[in-house]
Point group: D2
C-alpha cells in the first residue's frame, strides 16, 4: 500500500459556509482523519482588512470540531486567500491523504508551520530563513526528495498592523500596512526559492526583498493575512511514495497575458485543446492555483495599465479579476484559486500557475 492523495473542490456560499465539506464527511466521501490541509478562496478584498479569511478559518474549525480532536484540528493547515474579483467563485480545496495500491509517482503533499514571527522579522531575512526551513520540512514529510519534484508551495504568512508596528517600536520593514503584505509575501517566496535552489543564499539580504525582481521562485504562492503570526507552508509535488490517479504540473506566466504558458500546462489534460478545455477535460482538473500581480513598471507588452495608479481599488484586486478572466476563458470554469501579489513569485508582472489533475 502506498500513500494516496485525494483532492476535493467544494463550493462556499460565504466565508461562514463549510457545509459542503461537512456533507462530504457525512456522506463518507471524506475521511476527516485524512485531512492534511484546507485551502479556501474567500470573497473579501484580499487586503489588510479582509476579515473573510479569519471568518472562514473560524467557521471551518467549528465545522470540523465534531470530527477531530482539538490537537489535530489546531495543527491542520488552513490557508485562506481573499479575493474573488470578476467572475471568480469562492471555494474550498481540500487535501486528503489516504492509501491505495502501488503505481507510478503521483501527487504528494504535506505541511509545516514556522514559529510565530515577531513584527521585526516580517518582510526580512528572518522570515526568508524560517520559510526555507519549513519548506524543507514539508518536503520531507511529503516524501519528496528532489526540489525538481516540487510543483507548488502555498504559503499563508502574516502582515503588519498598526498595533504590531507599535509593538515593535517602529523597528519594522515598513510602516505601511498594505505594503507589509507585499514584503511578507516576497520574503516567503524567497524562502521557497532558497529551499528549492532557485536562488543562492549569497544573493539574498533584507535589501533585495521587494526590490530586486530578478530573484524569484517559479513555484511559490504566498498570501498574507491579518489572522496569523506564523507562516503556514503547504508543499505540493510528486513522489514515488505516493500513487493513485492524481498528478500536478506547473507553468510560469511570463506576463499578465501569457495565455500560451497556461495553455501548455492545460495540454496535460487535453493536448492541443483550442481556446477552452472541453467539458470532459474540465472535469479532470481538480484545482488551478495561480499568482498574479500588476507589473511594477506600469506596462503590459508596451501598453500602459492603471492598476498602480488607482487609489479606489487596490492593484491586487485588479490583478486577480483580470487573471481570473484569462484562466476562466482557458479552463471553462471559475472556481480558480487566483491569489494576488506575486512579489518574487514568478517574473515581474507574471506568476506561477499550478494544476492538480486526474489522469484520464
Amino acid at each position: 500500500m502506498k500513500r494516496r492523495a485525494i483532492v476535493h473542490r467544494l463550493p462556499m456560499a460565504g466565508p461562514d459556509d463549510a457545509s459542503a465539506l461537512v456533507a462530504e464527511i457525512e456522506a463518507g466521501r471524506i475521511d476527516p482523519a485524512g485531512l492534511r490541509a484546507v485551502l479556501g478562496k474567500t470573497e473579501g478584498n484580499g487586503c489588510v482588512n479582509d476579515f473573510t479569511r479569519g471568518y472562514a478559518v473560524q467557521s471551518l474549525r467549528l465545522a470540523l470540531a465534531p470530527y477531530l480532536s482539538d490537537d489535530v484540528l489546531g495543527a491542520l493547515p488552513m490557508v485562506m486567500s481573499g479575493g474573488t474579483e470578476g467572475g471568480l467563485s469562492p471555494h474550498w480545496i481540500v487535501l486528503e491523504e489516504g492509501e491505495g495500491p502501488d503505481g507510478p509517482p503521483a501527487l504528494a503533499f504535506a505541511a509545516s508551520l514556522t514559529a510565530s514571527l515577531p513584527p521585526q522579522a516580517i518582510g526580512r531575512m528572518a522570515q526568508v530563513q524560517a520559510v526555507r526551513d519549513a519548506t524543507r520540512d514539508a518536503m520531507r514529510k511529503a516524501g519528496i526528495t528532489y526540489a525538481a519534484d516540487v510543483h507548488f508551495v502555498q504559503i499563508k504568512c502574516p502582515l503588519l498592523t498598526s498595533e504590531r508596528i507599535a509593538a515593535a517600536g517602529g523597528d519594522v520593514a515598513t510602516t505601511d500596512t498594505l505594503k507589509s503584505m507585499g514584503l511578507s509575501r516576497g520574503a516567503s517566496a524567497l524562502g521557497v526559492a532558497l529551499a528549492l535552489g532557485e536562488v543562492a543564499p549569497e544573493q539574498l539580504s533584507d535589501a533585495v526583498i521587494g526590490q530586486d525582481w530578478s530573484l524569484w521562485s517559479a513555484r511559490a504562492s504566498c498570501s498574507a493575512g491579518v489572522e496569523l503570526t506564523a507562516c503556514e507552508v503547504v508543499v505540493m509535488g510528486q513522489s514515488a511514495d505516493w500513487a493513485g490517479d492524481l498528478r500536478i504540473g506547473h507553468a510560469v506566466m511570463r506576463d499578465a497575458i501569457d495565455a500560451g504558458s497556461v495553455a501548455d500546462l492545460l495540454d496535460l489534460v487535453e493536448p492541443g485543446f483550442r481556446a477552452q478545455l472541453t467539458p470532459p477535460s474540465q472535469t479532470q482538473v481538480l484545482a488551478v492555483l495561480a499568482k498574479t500581480e500588476a507589473s511594477p513598471d506600469g506596462m503590459i507588452r508596451g501598453a500602459r495599465h492603471v492598476m498602480l495608479e488607482d487609489s479606489d481599488l487596490s492593484a491586487t484586486r485588479h490583478a486577480r479579476g483580470f487573471t481570473g478572466g484569462l484562466l476562466a476563458g482557458l479552463t471553462g470554469f471559475t472556481e480558480l484559486f487566483v491569489s494576488g501579489g506575486a512579489e518574487h513569485q514568478g517574473p515581474s508582472g507574471g506568476g506561477p500557475c499550478a494544476m492538480i489533475y486526474k489522469t484520464s
Copy 2:
C-alpha cells in the same frame, strides 16, 4: 472612387492626453476632415461619477480645435467609455473616412445623434424609439441597406443625476443614479434591436426594460455617461459603397467565460489559432469592442460569483476587468474597448464582441 474606412488605435496617457492623435494629424497620417467618430476608453470608474469621460471629450475638443471649425467639431461624435480595470489600457479608436479604388464590400460607418432626452425619457420607450430612429439614420448615412450588414452599434447615452431627477419632479424610471445607467443602456440596446429587427415592436414596453432579459441585440454596445443628455449612435458594418482592406465581424459571448465564441471571431484573422493570436495576427486586429456584465442570477456555469454582492466595487468594474483578462489572453494585447453593463446587449450574463481587422 469609393468611400474607404481608416481606423487608428492610439494610446492615451490620461484622459487629458490626445497628443497621439495630434501627432498623427501633424504627420499627415490622419486627415482631420475625414474624422467621423472618436471612441475613447478612459480610466475612470465607468460609473456615475466618472469624470474621465467628460475630461477626455473636453481635451479632445481642445486638441482638434486648430484643425476643425466649431460646427464640424461640435457635430463629431465622441464616445467615451470609462473603465480600464485589470490590465486594460486606455486608448483612442479613431474612425476616419477617406476614399480609394473599388473593391469588395468593406468596413463602413456613420453616426447620428438623437435630440436631447428629458429625464422622464431615460430608461423608457421614448429613449428606445429615439435610438431606433438614430440607428436607421446612421445606417442610411453609412450606406448600409440591410440590418444583417450591421455588426456593431456603439452608443453613448445619458443617465439620471440627483439634479435631473429633481428637475423631473420625480417622474423618472428610477431614483437610483447608478441604476439609471443600466436602464439607459438597456433602453438604447432595445432601440438598436428594434432597428435591426432583433425584437418586434409589440414585444416592447416600459415594463420590459431592465426586466425581460430574453430581449436583446447581438450588436448593440451602450455606455452611459453624465456628460451628455442625448444619445450618440455610431453604426459599424459592411457596405458595397465602401472598399479598402478593412472588415468587421462580431460574435456573441453566451456567458462571461465564453472563450469559444470569441475564438471563432478571431479565426477571421488567424484560422485555427491556439490560445492566443500570434504577433503577426495581432497587428491585423485594429479594434476589439466588447460588452460585459455580471450575470443577474449571480451564477456563471453553476458557480456563484460575488459581483452583485460587492458593495465596495461596482459590478461593472468587476466585469470589465474579468472579460478584459479573457480577451487579452486570446488576442495578446490590452488595448481592448471593453465596456461594462450589457443590459439587453447579448444574452443575460454575456455580451456582443466585435472586431475591426485588416485582410491579410
Copy 3:
C-alpha cells in the same frame, strides 16, 4: 428590589475580539446571566458584503459559550452594525440587567425577535407588521407602558441576496441587493413608528416604503445584515419598574449638520456645555446611538453633496463618517454607535440620536 440596568461600553480590536467582554465577566463586573443584549459596531463596510457583522456574532457566541447554556445564548440578541468610517472606533455596547434598591424611573430595556421573514416580506408591509408586534412585545417585557417612554428601538433586520431573490422566484420588493438594505431598514422603522403611534395604520402600504419620507419614527434605528433572516428588536426607554443611576434621552437631527439638536441632548449631562463635553461629562456618557443618511435630494442646507453620485463609496459609508465627525466633536470621543441608512428613521436627511448616561 427593582430591576436595574447596567451598561458597558467595551473596545473591540477586530470583529473576532470579544476579549474585553470576557475580561469583565472574569473580573466579576458583568454577570453573564444578566445579559439582555449585545450591540456591536464593527469595522466592515456596513453594506451587503460586510462579513464583520456575522464574524462578530460568531466570535461573541464562542466567547460566551462557557458562561451560558445553548438555549440562553441562542436567544440573546446580538445586534451588529457595520461601519466605523472616519475616526469612529469599533466597540461593544453590553446591556445587562441586575437588580437594586428602589428609586425614580430609570433606563429599561428588553428584546424581542420576529419570526424568520421570507424574501417576499422584506421591505414590505409584512415586515412592518412583524416589527410592530415585536416592538410592542419588547415594551411589555421591559415594563414600559407608554410609547412616550420609549427613547430608542434598535433593530437588526435581514436583506435580500442573489440567492434569496432567486428563491423567491423574483417576487421581491427589489432585485438590487444594496437597495434591499434600505427597504428593509425602512420597513422596520415604519413598524416602530406604528407601534409608537408616530404614524397611523392607514398611512402605510407597500407603496410608501422607501418613497414617502414624510413618514418616520423619531426613535427607530435599523441596521440590515446578511447574517439573519428575522428582525431582532431591542427597545430602550425608561420605566418605573427599573431604578438605578442610568437614564436615556433622545434627539432628532433635522438634517446632517444639526449640531444644535445633539447639543440639546448632551445638555442632559453638562447643561450649557461649549463645543465639546468636558472630560468629566464624557465619562457620564455610556453610549451614543445615532442614525444618519445622505439626504435623498442631494442637498444639505442648499449646498450640493456628492454622496449619492459616488460609485466608489456607498452613501452610507460617506454618511457615517461625516456624522461620526460631528458627534465626536461634540462628545469628545469616538466610540459612537453611528449607523448608516436612516430611511423613515427621522426626517429625510436627518436621523435620531439617543444617549444613555449616568446621573451625576
Copy 4:
C-alpha cells in the same frame, strides 16, 4: 488708496462647472483683472487618479479665457484639492485684489510658483527649499513682512507616477505613487515651516521627511496632484498694505476631534457661540480651510481607528469626511475646504484650520 482683498465662495456643479464664476464676472461683481488665485474643492477621490483636479483647472481656464490674456491666465494660480467626502460640498474660493480706502491691517495674499521639480526632488530637501523660497517670495508680493502675520499657506504640489518614477531611473523618495503624495505634501509643509521660522534649517534632512512628526507648520496646507510638476504657493495673512473688511485667523487642531480649538477660532465672528454658529455669523465666514489626517499611531484619544487598515477606502478620504462633519457641525455649512493628508501640517493626527471672515 490701499490694496483690498475680496473673497468669493461659489458653488460648483461638477469639475467642469465654472459658471458661477463667469456669472459673477458678467454681473460685474468680480473684476477678472483682479484675480490673484482660485482654489477649488473638487469631488474626486483626492488621491493619485483624481482627475477632477485637472479637469477643473482645464475648465476654469476655458471659462476665463475670454477675460484674460494667455500670459495672465497662465500665471494665475489654480489650486485644486480633491475630495468632498461626507456632506462636504464642491466649491470655488476666489481671491481677488482691488483697492479701497485706508483702514487697519486686513487680509492680504499673493502667490508664487517654484520651478518645475524633477521626480528626484519630490519628497526631498530640494522640494523643501524650493517651497521655502516661494513662500518668502509670496510674502514679499503680499506685503507681509513678519512671519507672525502669515495665517495660511496653501500649496499645490506634484506627485510621482509610474511614468515619472521610470523617468528618474528609480532615484525617487518612494516607488509607491500614493505614498509619494504624502511625501510631497510633507516636504512642502516643511518648506513653509522653514520660511516661517517654525523649524530650524539644521533640523531638516531627507530622513526626517515623512518620519519625524514633531516637526510641523501650524499654517501650511498642502495638496498633491498629478496635474502639475511645480509647487504653487498661495500665502494668506494680514498686512498694513491692505485694508477693507476682511480678516483671517487660524487655529491648530491638536487631534482629529479637537472641536475646542476650532471653536476658539470661530469666536472671532461670534464670541461664545454654542455648538453651531448662528445663521448671521455663518454669513460672515467667507472661507474655512483645514487639513486633516488619520493619526499615524492608529489611535484617537486612546481609542482605535481603522482608517489606516482599510484597503477599500484611503485614509485621506476617511479623514476628510470625518473632519468635514466636525467642522460642518460647528460652522453650520458644508462648503468647507477640507484637505486630506496633513503630514508635517499641524501635530500628528491634527492639522491647521484657517478662517477668512468679514468684520461684523
